[in-house]
């Protein structure tokens, strides 16, 4: 029983800046502070147009609340450290890379090409090796989705090397 608890609490033995709770606390505080600073650059309105409070006041209040609540959970974590999370596996990082690829391809080449590349990439690295299923997820299914959105919803997708073949 103690062994299990020790394993779960292994996080406690790490230096504070490696602990999960510190990383989460630091990230939230950093982002909130940056956002809070940026609220000071919001335009202000003259009193005659001002409905109750300035436009920056409400977000400022929310950010201060987030900072205070985050500080409380960090303080409480001294008494009760968080359990250490398992390391993320390779497929997770490959999926993130596929998202980045999706953004690059959809921005530079083609929206549907980006979907096809992501689909085949994810499916392959998640363990699919059968050609038919790889074709299904990367070409057949996105094509069905494209036709459905185009025909039924009358949607116009962003131009690209493949979508242009259909539109022009």
């Amino acid at each position: 029983m103690n062994n299990v608890r020790d394993k779960k609490r292994a996080n406690k033995s790490l230096p504070f800046f490696f602990r999960t709770e510190f990383k989460v606390f630091f990230t939230i505080i950093l982002v909130s502070t940056i956002l809070l600073i940026s609220t000071f650059s919001f335009d202000t309105v003259p009193p005659i147009l001002n409905r109750g409070i300035q436009p920056a006041t409400f977000p400022k209040g929310l950010l201060v609340l987030i900072i205070v609540l985050t500080s409380i959970i960090y303080y409480l974590s001294f008494k009760r450290p968080w359990k250490k999370e398992k390391n993320l596996p390779k497929p997770f990082f490959l999926t993130i890379i596929s998202f980045i690829l999706f953004i690059i391809i959809s921005k530079t080449l083609d929206f549907f090409l980006a979907i096809a590349v992501l689909s085949v990439f994810v499916s392959y690295y998640w363990g699919e090796r059968r050609i038919f299923y790889l074709l299904l997820v990367s070409i057949i299914f996105p094509l069905v989705v494209f036709i459905f959105f185009e025909m039924i919803l009358g949607l116009r997708f962003p131009p690209g090397i493949i979508t242009n073949l259909y539109y022009y």
Partner: protein
């Protein structure tokens, strides 16, 4: 009598009946697939509803909600994985009973209690929504502000997350709603020169990102997970003995579920956990719980389906979502130009009673589909993740793009997908973000208008009895989970 006739409208329209059939089947599929669910499914299908008239669109979303909530029980019983978070408590007894070779009995009990809970909650909806809507005529801006604050403080006790983390997530949701032009002064906030952000961050990219894309990332970490599937021959209706044992539990849980559902921001997950624990507390055989007790299944399932009708009460009467899925339904209403609130009850009764009738029919339909088709729906879980999730990604991307035809929305979806993954990894529930986002404008708008009304005197809030009541309830809502968590040492 007139209202009863209006409720029957979906039955006499072939189009509405078709929408109901599709919604129920689609909801069941979504409920069965772990990681998906009525919230994600509703968000994904929202763009498609643009081709429908408002009534059909909302009927589609509500039938997905009802059937999806039940569908989670099939996976909970057969593979010990809740298809939806609301079915988590069903696993505790459903799977052990299935392991004893009584999967059909477990699913039969889940199907019957879900249907009874669902129908009970529709009755609650029909009676209480108009009463609450009438009450809302007494509400001014300060009362709406206090009500929205009450809804947000209720976030502290939702799900299995810690109260403080839920509040942080809720505040973050409201913060997202402030991005874009300030709706009162047209001053840009958090846009950083990006024109597309001037109109704010849409609800759909955030929901699809937080639910579907973050789940895709979660699935990428679980590829080596093997499900132990229990064979199912056929769903069996409960025996006389089972009914004798469980009828009180079903009724009690239906009441609990409806009540929890009515509370702003709470939903099926909380309802099923309370329904389950109350079933155990009142049971003559509490020692059987966790080992395959039919009372346990009935308690959890009646409660989570009863929460569906309950959650629709504040959504339709006040425009305050009762759960994450009703937040999607609320968005659907707004997209289709329907403004929830007391006026809706006066001006469009045929619309409202059509929804009530459709929910009633959806509960009967999922009973029929569940009873005869659970075996087929269970096979859907056999679709491997490596094929399923790339397909869901394609639909998510196209669905998100289609609403405003903006590629920025797709990137926002991906951003929230990654964010949602890390939030869940570190114990922050994503549901409060959704509720915060949808309530954000109401909170800020009513606060600012109240300050104008009160001429800057904040203490005037305390002179309004309804607002004061909501503030007191908010304090209780904040204190209760903190005390409970301190007892369980789960404050963070």
């Amino acid at each position: 009598m007139d209202n009863l006739i209006l409720m029957m409208a979906p039955l006499f329209s072939s189009k509405l009946l078709l929408v109901l059939l599709f919604g129920t089947l689609f909801g069941l599929v979504l409920g069965v697939l772990p990681g998906l669910g009525p919230t994600t499914g509703g968000a994904l299908i929202l763009p498609f509803t643009m081709t429908l008239d408002p009534l059909s669109a909302i009927i589609l979303l509500t039938s997905i909600y009802c059937a999806g909530t039940y569908g989670g029980a099939i996976t909970a019983v057969l593979i010990n994985t809740p298809g939806t978070p609301a079915a988590a408590a069903t696993c505790l007894d459903g799977y052990p009973l299935a392991q004893k070779g009584e999967a059909g009995r477990a699913l039969g009990m889940a199907t019957v209690s879900s249907t009874v809970g669902g129908i009970f909650s529709v009755i609650v909806l029909v009676f209480f929504a108009p009463i609450l809507a009438n009450l809302a005529y007494e509400f001014g801006q300060p009362e709406y502000f206090a009500l929205a604050i009450f809804g947000l403080t209720m976030l502290a006790s939702i799900g299995d997350g810690s109260p403080i983390k839920n509040l942080i997530a809720g505040a973050f949701g409201i913060l997202i709603s402030t991005v874009g032009k300030d709706f009162m002064t047209s001053i840009d906030r958090f846009t950083y020169g990006i024109n597309e952000l001037s109109v704010g961050i849409g609800f759909i990219p955030v929901v699809v990102g937080l639910f579907a894309i973050s789940e895709m990332l979660t699935q990428s970490t679980l590829l080596d997970q093997v499900f132990k599937r229990v064979a199912l021959k056929a769903v069996k209706l409960p025996t006389k003995d089972d009914y004798k044992k469980t009828w009180k539990t079903i009724l009690r849980s239906s009441g609990i579920g409806s009540f929890i559902g009515v509370l702003p921001a709470e939903g099926g997950t909380v309802a099923s956990l309370i329904g389950y624990s109350e079933a155990k507390r009142f049971s003559k055989n509490p020692e059987e719980f966790g080992k395959g007790s039919v009372e346990g299944i009935a308690g959890a399932e009646a409660a989570n389906n009863a929460a569906t009708g309950g959650a629709m009460v504040p959504t339709l009467a006040l425009g305050i979502p009762g759960s994450a899925t009703t937040a999607v339904i609320l968005t659907g209403l707004i997209i289709h130009g329907v403004r929830p609130g007391p006026d809706l009850f006066k001006e469009q009764p045929e619309f409202l009673y059509g929804i009530f009738g459709a929910m009633l029919v959806a509960n009967i339909l999922f009973f029929i589909f569940g009873f005869f088709g659970a075996k087929i729906f269970a096979r859907i879980t056999l679709v491997p993740n490596k094929i399923l999730w790339p397909m869901i990604f394609a639909v998510s991307v196209c669905g998100t793009y289609s609403l405003s035809q903006s590629i920025i929305d797709v990137w926002i979806m991906l951003f929230f997908g990654v964010l949602g993954f890390f939030m869940r990894r570190y114990g922050f529930s994503v549901v409060p973000v959704i509720i915060g986002l949808i309530l954000g404008e109401l909170v800020e708008g009513t606060l600012r208008q109240s300050i104008v009304i009160f001429d800057g005197n904040w203490l005037m809030f305390l002179t309004r009895p309804i607002a004061l009541t909501f503030f007191i309830l908010s304090l209780i809502a904040l204190a209760f989970p903190l005390i409970r968590s301190k007892k369980n040492k789960k404050i963070i």
